[in-house]
């Protein structure tokens, strides 16, 4: 990078030629006041507070926008610029009501700070007042134009980082205000970035703060929703979480949050929280003491263990629970119950994306998002970056802005991106492998290429025409995408939920691996929940010890026997090819202990899950809420939320991050690991942990992946676990194979499901704010399909598969291609998993319009 030498306030400095004067000054500890400037946005230049004088220029210039130049002489403190800056602030104060006593932002307001800093105590400027309209009908965001300084940060963050571009300046001159582009009530991602960047109280949360900023204690934590794992602050006063905030320049998110992350915290103290243990009395669950509940479970477990053996008891761990919870959960099963019958839903649904991730995929699947931020081509495959993991969408967008990265979006739905991707590829669901092989074929062409002979021979047989007609992606598009991938120096491929829930998920990843090998790229796999990675790392798996050591491996057995001081069972998975729920239905499992998981709504086969829960002799559910699953329980243990205890989560990057205790546990709820510890000790185990740190210490000692990491060293940016990336490129012949399709001949639509913006799992459904944005499940259908069926937007329809049917409202959208319908998961009033029964098949449905 070229360097230039310039002088600021008499100090000679050397700066990178791409820097602005403001940045160069800051690097050299020269302070220039700013107001509209924000590091993560392109400079705006509206406030004029950062004006500096430049030798040789008559007019002062804004240092935030001015690039450094060789030999430039800058003065940041001339009388003139100080006078002008003062004037700028005085001008803002012309129409800014000094209502600081009732303003939410008071105490963290840039205008307050700068007025004080500049020593402005008198206002002699006046303008004729203008009537402005407060926007309090924008759901979770409120806009008060009287407080607005029109710095445009909200406009820019919404455009550059969130890609929604919903705001504009309306009117001219003194009448200018912020409004939505279409001037209708706000309808956006509700990420609230506009609130976060507002320097004053103009943009504020619809969840009115009701606390003064200086009373709030910021407790660092990690968002408990998706696998991105954004560091957050829980702003707490007197045992209550008042809001969630985030800091720029920390963690994966650089201060950005999505709607759930920022507004979805209300589940913490809703009335629905279970406050005491519950015990089934007939058809009712009644409150009980901890002692009573633990004794009951301990006795029942002992009884089953004695009569049927330990592996008649099974456990399901949680992608939302901390590493410590999950670690002790599996340890409890393995050492106290002497059972390997534990699993987690991700692994149960598609083991390759849980336990076998390290064996089956040789690429560094788990990776730092640096692979995105340093890429020049981002290829999202089977991922909806804007909706699935909005903060990954932010990262992609900013990489497009800063590095001019090109974006290829491939999905079986027309998910798109904002701004529009360079290539948009909508393929036919089930033809992914064929498509990827076609792209590889097109890249290799007739060239010599690395790779095994069988693979190259196989490619020879592929005809692009055939690929194109079967995938419904045009030949030209395949060629254009191939061409841009060849040209790329640092490509990255991102795979989303569509792939890891796909019947051919493994094959797709293998095919993508071949592609990545050829273009020297990396693959990043999204994780759905905050600890989807950790639950697997911790060995909540029927055939793997913590750190993915095989249960069948006697050396591993010996190692863990040493760590745990017990004799471990040799027998692993109960029934090959069947999961725990299958085994329950088959009558092989008598008792089930489910920690923090709602299998009724989250398992791919809702009917089967219900059947299993009806059948099981003894069911313990440990949760914050009386979930659909908990309703079947014999005993319910109330667990504390992530804000009420300590622990660690491992995000999609493999980054171990710490959650901290912000408030006292609600009611008598306890941290999951504490409950497990008590139960283990009641049953004769010897779980001697006083603090979360004690558990983590054992994790670090037992799992090489987490080796060498101390609890206290996990700070703001967490610690990356020691995943080893494979350096050797392995090619495999991956062939397309047809997927079984289940449905009657009158069921024409391919049924897909996934997550939506405002809901993930069942927690968000307990947040009033999230339900305010979306409380109703919908089925997305293509306009031409809708027209054929004479269905309009928001009509009520019945979606029917061979397994069941649900009644739901329609959303007519081009996002669903013709012949495909999409229903979001996790809505208890329209459980999409009722429609599905088999994970390795494509489910077809029909849509019947309900008569009014």
């Amino acid at each position: 990078m070229k360097k230039v030498t310039l002088t600021i306030d008499g100090k000679k400095i050397v700066a990178d030629s791409k820097k602005t004067v403001l940045e160069a000054a800051a690097e050299n500890d020269i302070y220039i006041p700013t107001m509209c400037y924000l590091k993560k946005l392109n400079p705006i230049g509206s406030c004029r507070v950062c004006l500096v004088d430049i030798e040789g220029a008559d007019d002062p210039m804004t240092s935030c926008q001015l690039p450094v130049m060789e030999g430039m002489v800058v003065s940041t403190k001339s009388d003139r610029v100080i006078e002008l800056r003062q004037l700028m602030v005085k001008l803002i104060l012309v129409n800014h009501p000094v209502d600081c006593t009732v303003c939410e932002r008071s105490g963290e307001c840039r205008l307050q700070d700068i007025t004080y800093e500049f020593g402005i105590s008198r206002q002699d400027l006046k303008a004729e007042p203008v009537e402005r309209v407060k926007k309090y009908d924008w759901k979770l965001i409120r806009y008060n134009p009287y407080l607005c300084v029109l710095c445009e940060r909200c406009i820019m963050v919404c455009h550059e980082v969130q890609g929604v571009s919903t705001y504009k300046i309306k009117n001219n001159g003194f009448r200018s205000v912020i409004d939505t582009v279409d001037e209708k009530p706000l309808d956006c991602d509700f990420c609230g970035q506009c609130i976060a960047v507002c320097p004053v109280g103009a943009m504020s949360s619809g969840l009115v703060l009701q606390a003064r900023s200086w009373e709030l204690n910021k407790v660092r934590s990690v968002c408990s929703y998706c696998g991105v794992g954004c560091p957050i602050n829980l702003d707490v006063k007197k045992g209550k979480v008042y809001r969630v905030t985030s800091d720029d320049n920390i963690g994966i998110n650089n201060g950005n949050l999505c709607a759930m992350g920022r507004f979805g915290y209300q589940f913490i103290d809703t009335e629905d929280r279970i406050k005491t243990p519950l015990i089934r009395k007939g058809d009712r669950l009644v409150p009980a003491s901890w002692d009573e509940a633990l004794k009951l479970v301990s006795a029942k477990f002992k009884e089953i263990k004695n009569s049927h053996g330990g592996d008649a008891i099974a456990g399901i761990g949680s992608e939302r629970a901390s590493n410590e919870d999950n670690y002790l959960f599996q340890k409890f099963f393995r050492t106290v119950l002497v059972s390997h019958n534990i699993d987690n839903l991700l692994n149960m649904e598609n083991s390759s994306f849980g336990s076998e991730v390290f064996e089956k995929f040789d690429l560094p699947i788990i990776n730092s998002t640096e692979y995105i931020t340093k890429s020049d081509i981002i290829f999202t495959f089977g991922a909806d970056a804007c909706e699935e993991n909005p903060v990954i969408g932010n990262i992609i967008r900013v990489t497009m802005r800063d590095r001019e990265a090109r974006l290829i979006v491939g999905s079986s739905r027309d998910v798109g991106f904002r701004p529009p991707p360079d290539f948009r590829m909508v393929y036919k669901y089930g033809t992914e492998v064929l498509l990827i092989n076609g792209i590889i074929k097109s890249i290799i062409g007739s060239r010599e290429s690395e790779g095994i002979k069988e693979f190259l021979d196989y490619l020879k047989g592929i005809k692009l025409e055939d690929v194109s007609s079967r995938t419904s992606v045009s030949k030209d598009l395949i060629k254009a995408i191939s061409l841009s991938l060849i040209k790329s120096k640092s490509p990255v491929i991102l795979c989303g939920r569509e792939i890891y829930k796909h019947p051919r998920g493994v094959e797709i990843i293998h095919a993508l691996q071949n592609l990545a090998n050829i273009i020297n790229g990396n693959i990043i796999l999204y994780r759905e929940y905050c600890n989807s990675q950790g639950v697997n790392d911790m060995g909540v798996l029927p055939d793997k010890y913590p750190g993915y050591k095989n249960v069948a491996d006697l050396e591993a057995k010996g190692d863990f026997e040493k760590v745990w001081g017990v004799t471990l069972p040799v027998k692993g998975r109960m029934t090959a090819g069947r999961n725990i729920i299958d085994d329950v239905v088959d009558g092989k499992i008598k008792a089930l202990y489910i920690m923090g998981e709602d299998i009724v709504l989250r398992s791919h086969n809702g009917n089967q899950a219900r059947e299993a829960l009806k059948k099981i002799d003894f069911l313990i559910v440990q949760d914050m809420f009386l979930s659909e699953t908990a309703l079947f329980a014999d005993v319910v243990f109330p667990s504390a939320s992530f804000s009420e205890r300590e622990g660690t989560f491992t995000n999609m990057e493999g980054r171990i991050q710490k959650i901290n205790k912000a408030i006292e546990p609600i009611g008598e709820s306890r941290a999951d690991w504490v409950i497990i510890k008590e139960l283990a000790n009641k049953m004769g185990g010897s779980f001697k942990y006083s603090f979360t740190e004690d558990v983590f210490k054992e994790i670090a000692a037992a799992i090489p992946l987490y080796g060498g990491i101390t609890y206290s060293s996990i700070k703001n940016n967490g610690k990356l676990a020691n995943y080893q990336s494979q350096s050797k490129k392995k090619f495999r012949v991956v062939q397309h194979s047809e997927i079984e399709s289940i449905g009657d001949s009158d069921m024409p639509f391919i049924f897909l499901s996934g997550n939506t913006f405002f809901h993930l799992g069942t927690l968000s459904r307990k947040s009033a704010a999230m339900n305010m944005l979306t409380s109703e499940c919908i089925v997305e259908i293509n306009p031409s399909d809708a027209e054929k069926l004479k269905i309009n937007d928001k009509d009520t329809v019945t979606v029917k598969s061979k397994n069941g049917n649900i009644t739901i409202k329609t959303k007519v959208t081009n996002k669903s291609p013709q012949g495909v319908v999409f229903i979001p998961v996790n809505f208890e009033n329209a459980p999409a998993n009722i429609l599905t029964n088999k994970k390795d098949a494509v489910i077809r449905v029909k849509i019947i319009k309900n008569e009014q």
């Binding site: 509206s46 220029a57 007019d59 430039m72 303008a127 300046i169 001219n172």
Partner: protein, 659 residues
């Protein structure tokens, strides 16, 4: 012109108290005195001062009205412009309503001074200047207003309009600062939307426009003009590459009236586009088999690729335009016949496609090896390029067509290419950028030489006999006239001579039409404001009206003509709006001052346009310029200073005005 007072462009003329007979002439000042048929201009206030033509203006009132306009127009994008001018407005209103105090004058002056220094765009930077002039040169008027505490007279009619140097220089009236700001803000699609309000031809203009805007760019006064032209291309390319859904015409065919447009060049396409957007059914008759007119068959593909032009045309067709190719008008189909078929209005934009003669001996003899430039370029697109492989080529002429004619043989494998031009390099009318690129590609120049005779052997060209020239007195165009040097004949050996010294119009389209007048240059006569000919349903624009001129002029004519046609068909008066009249006034006055000292730090250089390597140019028609990348476009756009400025005229009834 003679004025009562002027502080325009820092030149003070003060004739107050002087007998009008003794007023001195100020040749630099070019404020028109007529606004329209009914109104005269009596004063002007704007970005660079105050001009008074009469003494019946109340300066306090004018200042107040002006700052009110400024406040209404100011974009709200900076604190000083948005709030500062509102504070100024309050003070001025207070004074003009008779409630002012002496302290207000001091505060007003200080504010005006500071706002002009601190503002983001030129509205905030320049508008306070005229207030400062008012306070300085008309202080007594303000002092009296403050002292007497009486409301000032406010009976004068004022009209105001925003402008910008680049905007005023563009015949399409494109809102350049805004489209550039949108690119800077990474909103290329919004930028394109704004561009299309002025022209549907962003791809062609963004590649081949003569860009008068850049010659009127204030950044040129700092170091180098903004690359306005190529930023337009960036916006279009972005939409093209990202295959986003393009805007649709919601008014498609909502009107019953049909309009016939002749010639699918920039003018015809633009007129068709704006007529279609207004809901008319438009049929575009084109004599050639391809669209684009001169852009299609004159400008070579290495500047505007055929596919790009076709996609641009497809967009216009999608708006509801039907193009009939290979359909010349004037023989089988004539305007009167089309009238019978129900076409209600006609726009003639058939261009200038006949090569002018160069006056050299033998040019009509049909020698093998002598080619007319326009035919040469057209054949390259429609049929086949004239074979120049390994030949020596001479191009006669120095305009942009000559540039296209000399850069094309380079690509077709000519051995050497030489341009013969009768003046010097300094006078070359071609775009300097084109001249530079031709030199990069190895084209040689012989200056101060005029063709005299084509030298042949057995009917085949072997050379061109030229005469040496020298520069004499300036001619009407202001350039020094070349004069023959007697007896200076010399022969330049050549196998091919391409003559490219200008074009004439083919007017056979007017067969059967009575009443359309022609100029002595054989172009069509029409009202220069409305483009209506003497036959009310016939309008015109582009080269057939202007004579061979530029793409952007053709686009600009057509956009305005489409509006006139709409006025004509909807029964309203075919006339300019107040805004358009103001644009005319400002254009005459000049929105750009080459001498202005812009107080910015120089050194933020223009981002160079990436081009393909030499080895890809020879023997190929690949587009030479590859277009800005996103980062480059944003950086280049960031150099723009948003030179919006506001001008306001004072008007008085009556249609006679002393000159």
């Amino acid at each position: 012109m003679k004025v009562l007072f002027s502080s325009w462009n820092d030149e003070i003329i003060d004739n107050r108290g002087v007998d009008p007979a003794n007023w001195k002439d100020t040749p630099k000042l070019k404020l028109p005195t007529d606004f329209d048929k009914e109104n005269n201009i009596t004063a002007f206030i704007g970005w660079s001062g105050i001009i008074l033509l009469k003494d019946n203006i109340n300066i306090v009132d004018m200042s107040t009205r002006f700052i009110e306009k400024v406040q209404r127009e100011s974009c709200g994008k900076c604190y000083s412009g948005r709030i500062g001018t509102a504070v100024m407005q309050k003070i001025l209103r207070k004074i003009s309503s008779g409630e002012g105090e002496e302290a207000d004058l001091t505060q007003l002056e200080a504010l005006a001074e500071n706002i002009s220094k601190a503002s983001k765009c030129s509205i905030g930077q320049t508008s306070p200047i005229s207030i400062l002039h008012a306070l300085k040169y008309f202080r007594d008027d303000f002092v009296i207003a403050v002292r007497d505490k009486k409301p000032v007279s406010n009976s004068t009619r004022y009209e105001s309009k925003w402008t910008a140097p680049c905007y005023a220089a563009c015949s399409t009236g494109m809102d350049i600062p805004t489209y550039i700001e949108f690119i800077k803000e990474w909103r290329p699609l919004e930028s394109l939307k704004r561009i299309r309000e002025a022209s549907p031809m962003a791809a062609s203009l963004g590649r081949a426009c003569f860009h008068p805007c850049e010659k009127n760019c204030r950044r040129e006064n700092v170091e180098r003009a903004i690359s306005i032209c190529k930023l337009k291309r960036f916006a279009w390319d972005y939409e093209d590459v990202h295959s986003v859904s393009k805007p649709v015409n919601e008014n498609k065919h909502i009107k019953e009236d049909k309009v016939a447009v002749f010639g699918a060049g920039p003018a015809g396409l633009s007129a068709a586009y704006y007529l279609a957007l207004r809901g008319y059914g438009v049929t575009l008759f084109e004599s050639l088999p391809v669209p684009g007119g001169m852009v299609g068959v004159g400008i070579p593909q290495y500047r505007v690729p055929k596919e790009v032009l076709q996609r641009e045309v497809d967009f216009i067709i999608d708006m509801g335009v039907e193009i009939k190719y290979n359909t010349p008008i004037g023989k089988d189909i004539t305007i009167p016949k089309l009238r019978e078929q129900g076409y209600k209005a006609f726009f003639i934009s058939t261009g200038a496609h006949i090569s002018k003669k160069m006056g050299a001996e033998g040019e009509d003899a049909g020698y093998d090896g002598f080619v007319r430039g326009i035919d040469y370029l057209r054949d390259c697109v429609i049929t086949k390029c004239y074979d120049v492989r390994d030949k020596r080529v001479i191009v006669v002429g120095g305009g942009n067509v000559a540039m296209d004619c000399c850069r094309t043989p380079v690509r077709n494998g000519a051995k050497e290419v030489t341009v013969v031009y009768r003046r010097t390099k300094k006078e070359l009318p071609a775009d300097p950028h084109e001249v530079h690129e031709s030199e990069v590609e190895g084209v040689k120049y012989i200056f101060l030489a005029a063709p005299k005779r084509i030298v042949t052997e057995n009917g085949k060209v072997t050379g061109l006999e030229c005469l040496k020239m020298e520069l004499g007195e300036p001619d009407a165009s202001g350039r020094r006239k070349p004069v023959e040097v007697k007896g200076s004949e010399f022969i330049v050996p050549a196998d091919i001579i391409i003559q490219a010294i200008g074009q004439d119009c083919d007017l056979s389209i007017l067969n059967g039409v009575d009443g359309v007048k022609l100029t002595k240059w054989q172009t069509i006569v029409a009202d220069p404001d409305t483009f209506q000919t003497d036959v009310p349903d016939i309008f015109t624009g582009g080269d057939v009206f202007n004579g061979p001129l530029t793409i952007v002029d053709a686009c600009g004519n057509a956009k305005r003509a489409a509006e006139s046609i709409d006025q004509y068909l909807s029964g309203s008066q075919v006339a300019l709006s107040v805004d358009q009249k103001l644009d005319k006034v400002i254009k005459k006055l000049g929105a750009y001052n080459k001498e202005e000292k812009v107080g910015k730090k120089a050194g933020w250089e223009r981002v160079p346009m990436p081009t393909i390597e030499m080895d890809r140019r020879v023997g190929s028609f690949d587009e030479v310029e590859t277009g800005y990348t996103l980062q480059q476009a944003i950086e280049e756009a960031s150099r723009c200073m948003r030179c919006y400025q506001i001008g306001m005229v004072a008007l008085e009834k009556g249609n006679s005005n002393e000159q």
